[in-house]
């Protein structure tokens, strides 16, 4: 079958500005000041021009090539800063590549954000038309699907209420409903489903599957929800630091995405930049020690582990909370913990290097490889730093009762300590009467 999208040696370069202001745009004063500074240093004949140190090239995408066939559902995965969003922006023509070519056959609709162009003052009805137009639908097209959209969003009663009065759930439903009723040949979706409740997410995923299965449309879809990628996508595309690491089956792409974190050689995840968070505080190192067996990154079920996080405080901060989340090799979250409910004064650290430890008691995990995401936040205010897959460990034994058969991940990631009691001399009728 002919390819609908062919991407050849695609690269995108950004210029990063250091020091100076954080805004991506320039102020005229910066340019003028720089000019004067340069002229000054040239006249005095001392020092290199100031501008040289200020700009740094950053390749958000580097030499990426792949082909997409009609009807493919492609899951694009990769850690933060791997180039996923840049790729989508180029495919949807929002930004231009620096090198390379993309050929697209068919109409592309991109959904990089839910509710782009929504205006809070306008009513639901008005926003449906506006948002539809923003997403590339014509007036007639929107009118034809209007009832379906309203139906899908379940907002009939509030159709003539300004959306600023909507609950965030209603807002989300309406926004996605408009997008879901686009009928382009190619649908490009960024991680927009991270919001919304589970039921709504399932509905959206179902809609995407239906669009692609029944109507033969091509879907490209960025997600951190690896379980959704595995179940929904026919193919997976793994990006790493702007380069294409793997393009093939979705399951394989997810495996590979998790694999480097699971080899434990160094901790590349901790050195990865850029990453999310405001970086007032940076996690610089982490280690996992098995207290029961004095080993590292290997455990048996019900061992005690010690997680140590080293972090640097760049700006004064108060009331930090540390969080970890354990994921299994399929990418599904297994366990989570936050220091937030503890004494809030515990983590008001001094500037410079600091350390925090967390004891994980009697880990109830079955055999498999697990990765740990770490983050440091000021609860409900800001995320300071987050590292996906900062640590990796494996559980090698899971048979605490010496039965001879091991509990593996396939049976479920959690091992529950149990006690089975057999009472064979049960009298007839005793079970039903047990409650009384």
């Amino acid at each position: 079958m002919a390819s609908v999208i062919s991407v050849e040696k695609l690269s995108k370069k950004y210029l990063l500005r250091h020091q100076g202001t954080k805004e991506p745009y320039l102020a005229l004063r910066d340019i003028l000041a720089e000019k004067i500074k340069n002229t000054g240093s040239r006249l005095l004949g001392s020092g290199p021009p100031a501008a040289a140190t200020r700009l740094e090239e950053f390749w958000a995408l580097n030499d990426v090539s792949f082909e997409v066939e009609q009807g493919d559902r492609i899951g694009i995965i990769g850690s933060n800063g791997a180039g996923k969003s840049t790729l989508l922006k180029i495919l949807s023509r929002i930004t231009e590549p620096s090198k390379g070519t993309v050929r697209i056959r068919g109409r592309v609709a991109s959904l990089l954000e839910v509710g782009t162009g929504f205006h809070p003052e306008l009513t639901g009805r008005e926003n449906i038309f506006l948002n539809g137009a923003v997403l590339g639908m014509g007036h007639a097209e929107i009118r034809a699907r209007f009832d379906q959209i309203v139906d899908f969003a379940e907002i009939e009663k509030f159709l003539d209420t300004p959306v600023k009065r909507y609950s965030s759930g209603m807002y989300m439903r309406l926004a996605f409903a408009v997008a879901a009723h686009l009928e382009p040949e190619i649908l490009v979706v960024d991680e927009v489903l991270a919001v919304g409740d589970a039921q709504f997410q399932a509905k959206c995923l179902g809609k995407m599957e239906e669009v692609s299965n029944r109507q033969g449309r091509t879907v490209l879809f960025v997600s951190h929800n690896l379980a959704a990628v595995r179940s929904l996508c026919t193919k997976g595309l793994l990006l790493e630091n702007g380069t294409l690491n793997y393009f093939g089956s979705a399951a394989e792409a997810v495996e590979r995405y998790l694999a480097p974190r699971q080899q434990g050689e160094g901790r590349p995840a901790l050195r990865r930049v850029p990453r999310s968070g405001t970086s007032k505080v940076a996690i610089v190192d982490a280690a996992l020690l098995n207290l029961t067996r004095k080993s590292r990154e290997e455990a048996e079920v019900l061992d005690d582990l010690l997680l140590t996080i080293c972090y640097e405080v760049h700006q004064p901060v108060k009331y930090l909370a540390f969080e970890w989340a354990i994921r299994d090799s399929r990418g599904a979250a297994v366990a989570f913990s936050s220091s937030a409910p503890m004494d809030r004064y515990l983590f008001t650290p001094a500037l410079g290097a600091n350390r925090v430890e967390c004891r994980l008691k009697r880990i109830p995990l079955s055999i498999g490889r697990y990765s740990i995401d770490l983050s440091v936040t000021i609860p409900n205010i800001e995320c300071l730093d987050a590292v996906e897959g900062a640590l990796v460990f494996s559980v090698t034994q899971c048979d605490p009762y010496q039965t001879g058969s091991q509990y593996r991940l396939e049976r479920g990631p959690v091992f529950v300590e149990t006690e089975w009691i057999a009472d064979n001399k049960i009298a007839a009728g005793e079970l039903s009467g047990a409650g009384s």
Binding site: R93, G100, R103, E113, G117, L122, H139
Partner: protein, 275 residues
Amino acid sequence: MAQLNEIIIKPGMGAAHYWRELWRYRELFLFLAWRDILVRYKQTVIGIAWSVIRPLLTMVVFTVVFGKLAKLPANGVPYPVLVYAALLPWQFFANALSESSNSLIDNSNLLAKVYFPRVILPASAVTVCLVDFLISCILLAGLMLWYRVVPGWEIVLIPVFLGLALLASLGAGLWLAALNVKYRDFRYVVPFVVQVGLYVSPVGFSTAIVPERWRLLYFLNPMVGVIDGFRWALLGDAYQVHWSGMCAGAVMAVILMVFGLWYFRRTERGFADVV
């Protein structure tokens, strides 16, 4: 499927089929203009009335200051009509210039998340101002009735002068909008230009008071020609027109438009990266 229009994306290709794309997105253009009008109407208590009240109050002030206090000549035309005939195009120009030059930043969210020909944003901003202009025309009709000023055949040429004002404002607006994305300084430049322009352009007085030898130079401000044209079209022969100056103004407006569009198209590919 194969014969479906194929899109090729590569560096420097942003401008391929530019005008065809623009035509394809005409509905978005109308929707954006419709949105801005609707929002203005909803957010303010008296909504559209603002487009009448603002020029009305300015007209009163100018009539008192220039007509009554400074006693500038009016060629027998009622001073309020003289002022209002100039205020109409001037206000259109001033609003269109400031709205269009801010249009990209105000919609930076759209810019970063959706593709469409970027010209749509400043163009729809100017369209909204055009609607305002039409509404404030009602007041002019009232004034002319009140002072019993009957326009001659020249009134049919009003759209031509309006077109010149549109070219000048959209041209300068496109240029400033593109600059604004990169250098936010221009956010402060535009209100200043508009404020100074009100006094430099012959809004409160007639061009006749400008010395003859400076007249041609004066007309390099394209709004001078537009304002004179409006006065001539509405007041007829009572108002002398400096035709060679008018041509100079028209040429300036066209140059502004061509240059603005050229600069906008040259820079628009990078908007999403810097906004």
